[in-house]
Amino acid sequence: MSTGTTVKGSVGVAMKRKEDPRFIQGKGNYVDDLSFPGMLYMAIVRSPYPHAEIVNIDIAEAVKVPGVKAVITGKDLEAAGLGWLPTFHGYDKQMVLAIGKVLFQYQEVAAVFAESRGAAADGAEAVQVDYNPLPVVADPFTAKKDEVLLRNDREAKTNHIYHWEVGDKERTAQALEASDKVIKQRMWFPRCHPAPLEPCGCVAQFDTMGRLTFHVTSQAPHVYRTAITIVTGIPEDKIRVISPDLGGGFGNKVPVYPGYVCAIVGALKLGRPVKWIESRTENLTSTGFARDYHMDVEIGAKSDGTVTALKVSTTADHGAFDAAADPTKYPAGMFGIVTGSYTFPVAHAEVDAYFTNKAPGGIAYRCSFRVTEASYAIERGMDILADELGLDPVELRRKNFVKKEQFPYPSALGFTYDSGDYHHTLDVALEKIGYQALLKEQVEKRAKGELMGIGFSTFTEVVGAGPSKHFDILGIKMFDSAEIRIHPTGSGIVRAGTKSQGQGHETTWAQIVAEELGLDPQNIMVEEGDTDTAPYGLGTYASRSTPVAGAAIAMAARRIRERARKIAAHLMEVGEGDVEWKDYKFQVKGVPSKSVTMKEVAFAAYTNPGPNEPGLEATQYYDPPNMTFPHGAYIAVVDVDRETGEVKVRRFLAVDDCGTIINPMIVEGQVHGGLTEGFAIAFMQEIQYDKDGNNLNTNFTDYLVPTSLESPAWETANTVTPSPHHPIGAKGVGESPNVGSPAAFVNAVIDALSPLGVRHIDMPVTRDKVWRAIRDAEAKKDRP
C-alpha cells in the first residue's frame, strides 16, 4: 500500500516563502495595479483648517475642469443617508465628507471624479471652500476643560468620550500608601502612524446586475463587507470585497475610511468603476494613527524591590472621531496587560479619552490593542523603580517575575496568562549578549566620562483576540475560520478569513496543513482576502492570525484527518479503531509496515471511499478559549554622543518566546521588522500637531522611516513555551518586537544618561532632546 516514501514534518521548517516568486518578479497584485475599462479616478478635497465652519462649497469651477465627471459633498451624502459611517467598536461614528464643519486638518470635504489622475487633482484644486475658522483644541488636556465643544452632533455635550477602568482602585491606593517606595512618572506615548509603504486605496465597481465588487486595501475584508452593508444598505450578498496583495498594513488597513464610501457612491452614481488611491500625505494625515496616550504611572514597592501595587491613569487623545478599532467591550483595548511580567498583588488602570481637532483613530499599530502603550509604561516604570531603589534593573525584574510554576497565572487586572518561563528567557538573553562584560565595559567608559547605556525590556503581550464571550467588532464575534479542500492527487487549498500583509500566510498556513496531514506544503495553496470564497473571519491584526486562524486551520485539518482515518481503515480493511496517525501517515496499530499516506487516502476519497462520505473537505470556525501571552527579553546597548545628542544603537538582542514556531525564518523576519518599527518610534517618528492644530508630519520628509543606514543590525534568539490551549501551541509573534522594543531603547538611553541624573525622556528620543537633557543636567550639577 504505502509507497514507502518518508513524509517530513512541515512545522518548524525554515521553508522559503511561496508568495515570493511573484513579488520578486513584479507580478504582485496590489490595488493600484488594477485597471478596468472606463475606470474613473477620485481625488479628495481636504480642509486646511483643523476646526472651522463650512460657509460655502463652490463646485462650479471644478465641474468645468476638462475630464471632471462629478463632485460630491457632505450635503449630497447626507441627503442620501450616507453622511456618517460607524467606527468599528460601535460607539462613535465618523463623517464621510464634512457636514457643517470640519473637525481636523486634512478632513475630507468633497470628492471629485474624473477621467484621469491629473484631471481629478485639477478638479479638487478648483473646488472653492469658504471656511470660518473656529477655536482649535489640539490636546486632550484642553479638551478636558470643555470650553470648546467639538462634537455638537452627539447627545453628550462634552469632549469626554469614555472612562474605562479595571482593577481595584481602593486597594491599590491603600497598597501604594503602605509601600516603602512609590515612583511616579508621566509618560507620553506619542502619536505615531503605521505608514505602510503602500497607501490605502480601492476600486469600486458595480456589474450590470448591480452587484458591487470592491477591491480594497483591507486587513479585514469580511468586516468591510458587513460594514458596507451597514452604511449603504446594499445587501451583503450583493457585495464582494477583495483584498488583493497588501503592501504592508500594520493596523492602518483595519478601519473603513471615508474615501471608500465616496468611491462606492461615485461608482454607483456614474455607473463606472472608480479608483481611489490616497497620497502619502493623505495616508499620514487622515487614516488611522496609533497611541497618543498620556500615562501617569505609579509603582509601589518594598525596599527590597518586591512590587506591591501599580496604578496607571491615562489621558487618551482620539482625535475628532473615536475611530479606534478596538473590540466593543474594550475601549482601551488590552491595556490591562500593564502589570506586565510581574506579580503585582493589586493594580488599577484607568483611561479617559477625549475628542480633539486631530485626525481620528487610535488603532492598533503592530500591536494587540494598546498593548504597546501598556508594555512601555510598565517596562519604563520598572527601570525608574530600579534606579530609585538603587537596584540592578535585571535583579528587580527577576525578583518580581511570574514564576514558571505559577502559570496559568491570574493577573491583578483580570487576564489569565497561559504559559511562560520569564526567568529562562531573560537568562538566555543575558548569556547571549554577555551582560557581565558589558557591565564591566560600562564602568570603564563611565570613568572616562563616556555615555554608554544598557536597556532592558522583559515584556508580556496579550494577543489573539479573542474568546467570543468577551470580544466583538461591530457586534461580530472575534472568532476566525478556515476551509480546507484536499484534491484527489493529494494537493489542496486552504482558505481563511485572515489577510496577509507580508506575514507570509501563503507559506505558514500551508505548513500547518501539511504538518497535520502529512502533505507537501508546496502543494497546498492558500487563498485569503476574497469574501466570495473565504469563510467569514475577522482578519489579520493584533497578532491574531496564528492564535485564531492558525488554530482554525489546524482544527480543520484535524477534521479532515478524522474523515481520512475512516477511508484509511477502509483501504487497509481494518476497523477505524485500529488505525493510528503516526509518522505523518495512517498505520495499523502495531503493524508499521501496513500504512497508507494521506495522498493515497485523498485519491481514495474521490475514487474509492467505500462506505464513507466521499471527498475530503472541512470548514472550521475556531473560538479561542483564551488569549495567548507571548513574552520576550530584549536588551539594547547604546552609546551617546555628548556633543550632538546622537544615540548609536550598538547592539540589540531580542529573545522572543512565541510558543511553537511554525517557520523560524519568517519569525526572525517578523522580529527584524518589528524591531525596526520600534526603533523608529523610539527615536524618530511622531505625528506632531502644533497648538493651532496643524499636522507637522505630513509626508516622508518629516514622518521619518529609518533607512538601512540608521537601522541597527539585529540579533535574535528564541525560547519556546507552547501555549497550552492552542492546537499547535503557537502564540503569535508579529507584534512582540514593536511592543517590547521601545522601552528597551529608551531604558538604554536613560541608563547612559543616569550618571548625570537624567530620569526620563519622552519618545521620540531625538538628538535635540538628549542634548538638552545632558546640558540641563550638567548645568544643574554646576550649580552649588
Binding site: 497620497s279 550632538t644 546622537e646 522611516v705 540608521e710 531625538t766 538628538r767 538638552r772
Partner: protein
C-alpha cells in the same frame, strides 16, 4: 500627486535652452535634475507654465578639471562627482564628503550640483560647500557669460543672482594646492533629510604649518548658507591649535542664526554649528597629518 499641467520643451543645446528662457521669461523654469523641482510640482507649490529640459544636452554634463579649476556643467550629477576618479585625492576631500551625503544615493543619480546651488535651499549641502571652497558660478545672461563669486550668487532663501531669462551653466571650484584638505560634517535625522546643521571646512596650509587659507561655512544656519568669516580670520596665518579651533567653533556658533523646526531648536542647532566646525577642522587637519 500629479503636477499642474505645463508645456515641455526639450532644449537641444545650451544655446537653444538660453534662447527659450529669454523668450519665455518668468513663466519658464529650467529642468535639470528635477529632484527638488518635481516633488514641489507634485505638491503644486511649483507650477511653472513651461519646463525647459536641459538633460539632453551632453555638453552641460561635462566635468572639466584643469590646472586652475574644476568645472561642473549644469547637469553634472551629484553621483558624477561621487564617482569621479579624482575625488579620492586629499585636496578634494570637502567635495568628496559632500557628494556622499546629499539627499540619498538614488536621488544623487539625477540631482545636480549646479541645480542645488540655484535652488539655494537654506539647508542644502552644496551652497555651504561652495562657500568654503570659494566657488564661482558661470551664468549666461543677455551680455554673455559672466562669473559670479558664490558669496554674491547666494542672495536669500531660494533666491540667487540669476535673473529671469538667465541660466547658470557651470560651477567652478578653484583647484586647491596640495597642502589642502577639507571636510563636510552634517547632522541629519536620517538619510535623505535636509541638514539639521552642517559645516563645510577647507584648509590650505603653508609649508610651516600655518593656515594659508581657511574656508568655513554653515548650512541650516540662516536664510541661506553662511560663510563664517570670523572663524576664517581666527585661523588665518596661525598654526591651528585646540584653542584656535575652539575659537573658530565659537564664532560659527555665534554666527549661526537657525530657525527652530522639527529638526531641532535654535540653541541645539547653534550648538551643532560649533561642534561640527570643530569636528570638520580636526578632520581636515587629520587628513593633512596635523594633530590637533
Amino acid at each position: 500627486m500629479i503636477p499642474a499641467a505645463f508645456d515641455y520643451i526639450r532644449a537641444g543645446s545650451a544655446d537653444d535652452a538660453f534662447a527659450q528662457l529669454q523668450r519665455l521669461g518668468g513663466d519658464a523654469r529650467v529642468l535639470a535634475g528635477g529632484q527638488s523641482l518635481i516633488p514641489a510640482m507634485r505638491f503644486r507649490l511649483a507650477r511653472p507654465s513651461v519646463l525647459v529640459d536641459i538633460n539632453a544636452i551632453p555638453e552641460l554634463r561635462t566635468i572639466r578639471l584643469d590646472d586652475q579649476a574644476l568645472a561642473l556643467g549644469a547637469i553634472a550629477r551629484d553621483s558624477d562627482v561621487e564617482r569621479a576618479s579624482w575625488i579620492t585625492e586629499r585636496k578634494w576631500r570637502l567635495l568628496h564628503d559632500v557628494s556622499r551625503v546629499v539627499a540619498d544615493p538614488v536621488v544623487r543619480q539625477l540631482g545636480t550640483v549646479v541645480g542645488s546651488l540655484c535652488h539655494n535651499d537654506p539647508s542644502g549641502d552644496w551652497p555651504a560647500a561652495a562657500l568654503a571652497a570659494r566657488a564661482v558660478i558661470v551664468v549666461r545672461g543677455k551680455a554673455g557669460l559672466r562669473t559670479v563669486p558664490i558669496d554674491q550668487f547666494l542672495v536669500d532663501s531660494f533666491t540667487t543672482s540669476v535673473e529671469e531669462g538667465e541660466m547658470a551653466v557651470a560651477v567652478r571650484f578653484p583647484v586647491p594646492d596640495d597642502r589642502t584638505a577639507g571636510a563636510y560634517q552634517k547632522v541629519e535625522r536620517k538619510v535623505g533629510d535636509f541638514a539639521t546643521a552642517a559645516a563645510a571646512v577647507q584648509l590650505s596650509l603653508n609649508a610651516d604649518g600655518t593656515v594659508r587659507e581657511a574656508g568655513i561655512a554653515l548650512s541650516a544656519a540662516g536664510p541661506c548658507a553662511v560663510r563664517v568669516a570670523e572663524a576664517e580670520a581666527v585661523l588665518q596665518g596661525q598654526k591651528p591649535t585646540a584653542e584656535l579651533i575652539r575659537a573658530a567653533a565659537d564664532a560659527a556658533s555665534k554666527k549661526s542664526e537657525p530657525q527652530a523646526d522639527l529638526r531641532g531648536s535654535i540653541d541645539y542647532k547653534k550648538n551643532l554649528a560649533g561642534v561640527l566646525v570643530s569636528r570638520g577642522l580636526r578632520q581636515a587637519l587629520a587628513h593633512l597629518g596635523v594633530q590637533s
